[in-house]
Amino acid sequence: MQYQYNEEQSQFKDMLRKFVQDKYGYDCHLALCKSEQGYSEEHWQQFAELGLLGLPFSENVGGLGVDSGFLMAIAEEFGRGLVLEPYIATVVLAGGLLAKADNSDLSNVLLPKLVAGDLKLCLAWEERASRGNPLDVNATATRSHIGDNLLINGEKCVVLGASSADKLIVTAVAEDGGLNAYLIDCDAVGLHVQAQTLADGQRAGQIRFCNVEISADAALFSDGKAAATLQETLHEALLVMAADGLGAMDQLLALSLDYCKTRQQFGVPIATFQTLQHRLSDMMIACEKTRSLLWAAFQVQGSSEFGERVAMLKAQIGSAGRYVGQQAVQLHGGIGMTEELSVGAYFKRLTVLDLLCGNRDYQLNYLAQRQTQLTVDAA
């Protein structure tokens, strides 16, 4: 059972840490937060050069075909470095679903571009009413008057990477009642993207589809396995997002330890106060429990237990990330409440992560329902 990065993954991770440290100071993060685009195209091209954009994809589309451990390693370092580029949106979410699609005409054309850094995608799946459930979809794909064309209608919210994407994949209910996913150009008629800057600086978009007309071969799936594949893709993405969160948590703990050792109050470093010592211990415990559940989920990727362990992991990162974020701010006092230090930026990143892709509440309900299902199955 693998419980830590293997040698190859570790080397890769160390390389990335150095890369992020070199390219990404907190100043750089702040500047990108406030920029029009919200990320750096130059960084994106460097990702392509480093091969980061092709990691999970097969070699025939220009990828490296390595396992999720490498994606976790990237995400940990991106979380630790407050990286803002839409990596997870493009590579893990949209790219991940595309790579599993039946429609190889699309994936064989698009993935090489994605890997080369010439194409950005996003995945529009979440709706206000879905509250984290990817299968609870109101958007529709109905037959248009013209040939086999389809009309997409509906609304998707907080679509990560929407403002930078060239094309998007949207989930919608087809006329037969089954879920499917469709590829659409972001400049299609009837498609309205309102760009959003999330609290942590990440860019997203609110997308409205008003009779967006697409051809039938824009459908990613043909045999009704869209739902399962979407679910699987999201589970993989959650694994990677959790690694991002863990990187942020680790860094918050490190910053807090440093601050407590140097900050003086009442004539002594605040690290000498027992209450704060125990708080730091609890922050470390929160990090370590999360790390254990991260590896526990990684181990069973591809098996029937994966969804359950990912849900546990996401619920854990929701509460642990909230705890570590809040306590890091508290330990830093007033200065932790400002833009002057990076502490607040990590806190906000963890806050956003908690609410994205099914918050703690959703994951706990998902787990309880699975348990009930197990009981029914057993009876």
Partner: protein, 400 residues
């Protein structure tokens, strides 16, 4: 409110009638767009002036200096009605911080010079207490005032000065001596923000807005007649101010209607099917648990207020109230975040400005949720961190 006597009923009606007409649209917008304990400056000061003209601006002040003569219960009713109407809470600096200092320790001349402007809202006073190296440990402050004839010469800096960039006056604790215990050499001074040598630098908070400031002093000349109380005895003045407001808190008056609004928000339809977040029994459960905490704060506050009348000193209960109200406020902000969910994620600073013509995503009230959550983390830090309050509380109960 259950068995309210006739006198209270009439009083409440009078307040309500006034609140129905007095605040302008902008003032009500500022009330809605309050994302921390400090409401938007301009409109809040406009409201301050309206209340001043009505004679209701300073319920806690002595009647002869512009107070209202209301009982503790009436003050609570006033607070309840203000919260229900949604007017912005007044900024506490003039009326609850510097005012009491001048009332308690000022000379007759100082009272005549400074109190009218505080009361009317002509002046806005900011606080110069904390320093980069002296937060929860105020006794460690270093900002220095050297005697020079009839003046002090001020050098150093202050931080966490709320709305320092809006203020025309400042009250500050400065070091006039380094002999004896750290608390012993501190003096309480009043400053004009336009004294030469003062520089203000706003600090951007987690919500992207400047609310706090750093204030730098280089050879700022302050007349000694601006000193409140004796030289080196400023600590006593600051302590007096802290105790002044004790027992008059009305945090529950804010929490109870806020919880009602949150319940209403949780019942909004998510889509055409009419589903709402309130259908989730776990959200219901958290609302119920929060209500118990809210009621505990409300009734602890009322209990302390009621027993004060009987001549008791709140003692450690002041620390207790600080802890439980800040923590319930934080719990409230978290539940609000979880209920609003994705709609809370975009940070919409521009749309949140009072009078902004920028349309935001979603409901106006949803835009407030993230800034409020972020800003509310400060509640356990400011005014004596909750760690300091818990130590004070322990000291009190271990001594008894």
């Amino acid at each position: 409110m259950l068995i309210e006597d006739q006198h209270s009923v009439e009083f409440r009606a009078e307040i309500r009638a006034f609140l129905d007409v007095a605040p302008s649209e902008e003032i009500l917008e500022a009330g809605r767009k309050t994302t921390s304990v400090f409401a938007p400056f301009k409109e809040t000061m406009a409201w301050h002036k309206i209340l001043f003209r009505q004679g209701w601006v300073a319920p806690t002040w002595p009647l002869e200096y512009g107070g209202t003569g209301w009982t503790v219960e009436q003050r609570y009713i006033f607070a309840e009605e203000c919260n229900r109407r949604g007017v912005p809470p007044l900024l506490p600096q003039n009326l609850q911080m510097v005012g009491p200092a001048v009332l308690g320790f000022g000379t007759q001349e100082q009272k005549e010079e400074f109190l009218p402007g505080m009361l009317s809202g002509e002046d806005f006073w900011c606080q110069g207490y904390s320093e980069p190296g002296a937060g929860s440990d105020l006794a460690a402050l270093k900002c220095r005032a050297d005697s020079d004839g009839d003046d002090y010469i001020l050098n150093g800096s202050k931080t966490w000065t709320t709305y320092g960039h809006h203020a025309n006056k400042m009250f500050a604790l400065v070091r006039t001596s380094s002999a004896g215990k750290p608390q012993a050499g501190i003096t309480f001074l009043l400053l004009d923000m336009n004294f030469p040598g003062i520089e203000v630098r706003p600090i951007v908070g987690l919500d992207g807005c400047p609310e706090q400031c750093e204030v730098f002093f280089s050879d700022v000349r302050v007349p000694k007649r601006n000193r409140i109380g004796e030289e080196n005895k400023g600590w006593n003045v600051a302590k007096y101010v802290l105790e002044f407001e004790r027992g008059g808190s009305s945090f529950g008056a804010w929490l109870v209607p806020a919880l009602e609004k949150l319940r209403a928000r949780s019942s909004l339809a998510l889509d055409d099917s009419g589903r709402s977040v309130a259908d989730d029994v776990h959200i219901q459960r958290r609302l119920t648990e929060l209500e118990i905490d809210v009621r505990a704060v409300e009734h602890t506050e009322k209990r302390v207020n009621a027993n004060l009348k009987h001549g008791e000193n709140p003692g450690p209960m002041a620390s207790l109230l600080k802890i439980i109200s800040s923590e319930v406020m934080q719990k409230f902000s978290e539940l609000q975040l979880d209920i609003v969910g994705l709609d809370a994620l975009p940070l919409q600073t521009a749309a949140l400005a009072v009078g902004s013509d920028i349309a935001g995503f979603g409901e106006e009230s949803d835009m407030l949720v993230m800034p409020y959550y972020l800003n509310t983390r400060a509640a356990s830090i400011y005014a004596g961190s909750n760690e300091v309050q818990r130590s004070l509380l322990a000291k009190a109960i271990l001594a008894s």
